[in-house]
Amino acid sequence: MKKLLRASTLVGRPVVTLAGESPLEIRDVVFDRSAGGLIGFTLRKHGFLGGPVREWLPWSKVHGLGPDAAVIGTTDVFDDEPDDGGGGDVLGSRVVTEDGTHLGDVVEVIISTGPDAEAVGFEIEPTEACRAGDATAVFLPLPDTIAVSDENVIVPDAARDYIADDLSGFGGAVADFRSRLREKN
């Protein structure tokens, strides 16, 4: 069951061990500024007043990620949060093609679920140049690796041809886009 979801919907989802315990829940999803991928989750205690904790869940230690929970082997995988964070907020960044067209600004990161979950696209608030009809948000597929600076995310020109206006058809667009990039190389 491969399903796409908005990263922000994971906030508050439990972190569950294979043994069925859940010491903590997801506080925030952290992205790598330099590569655009997910690097991990900050955590908090369960409940409305759950305070943040030092424990950090590195992306590489997630056993399975779905819409309802992040599953881990055991709580041994928790680590200390990296000091520099290693990442930052990709939300709000400008998405610019290699030929210099500003497509829009990132409002959400779209991730795939399952054992090999990853960031597959951005939901962007489109600029006039890229707007199709009157959609206020469109979905832009990501290649396997991208360049990200403090303000800009650089994507191949071809990404433009695979913009989807709803999430249900987006999985196919990501696959088509990535296979086209591979053909070119």
Binding site: V16, T17, A19, G20, L65, A69, A70, V71, G114
Partner: protein
């Protein structure tokens, strides 16, 4: 036999005929997918010493056959901290399948058959863990081999039918979904 129906049955000493307590909970092994023990108040009757769950009672050879909890896991079960009924069932890929309402098992061998949800069920052999927060089950999509469709819950079958865009799926019964996906 159902887990819920086993609770409260009297436990009788076969040598003396005396009632020594009642079934307070069961111990399920996620390795063997069997019921391995019957909890009688704060002690445990290993399944092998019993004749399984009888129609009206559980019998043990003598009161001495009961053991104290031997490790932390057993202690938590006896203390009632990890009762699987009422827990949410999650797959190892982070999908919530529903709340566990009951467990169906063989009254003689203790072998676990199905995990029962409110309007659904799945194979007990998928169980990976029973904890204080959740019951975690194997995700059949992970195994390289084609999954046995009868192991899946109806919701999981429907999700597969949706991925393959099978027409008429929303009106299908569980058996019809299995046939259509085979």
């Amino acid at each position: 036999m159902r887990w819920r129906k086993s609770l409260g049955k009297p436990v009788i000493d076969r040598s003396s005929g005396e009632t020594i307590g009642e079934v307070t909970t069961l111990i399920a092994s996620v390795e063997s997918h069997r019921i391995t023990g019957i909890v009688v108040d704060d002690r445990i009757a290993p399944w092998s010493t019993t004749r399984g769950i009888g129609h009206d009672a559980v019998t043990v050879p003598s009161v001495d056959a009961l053991t104290e909890p031997t490790d932390g896991d057993e202690k938590r079960i006896v203390d009632g901290d990890v009762d699987p009924l009422g827990r949410s069932v999650y797959t190892e890929d982070g999908f919530a399948l529903g709340s566990l309402t009951d467990i169906d098992f063989d009254a003689d061998t203790g072998e676990i058959g199905r995990l029962l949800l409110a309007d659904d069920d799945l194979a007990g052999s998928r169980m990976l863990g029973i904890g204080s927060f959740a019951v975690v089950v194997r995700s059949r999509d992970r195994t390289g081999a084609e999954a046995d469709l009868s192991d899946l819950s109806k919701a999981e079958l429907y999700e597969r039918a949706r991925a393959r865009d099978l027409p008429g799926r929303s009106d299908m019964t569980k058996q019809e979904l299995i046939a259509a996906l085979s």
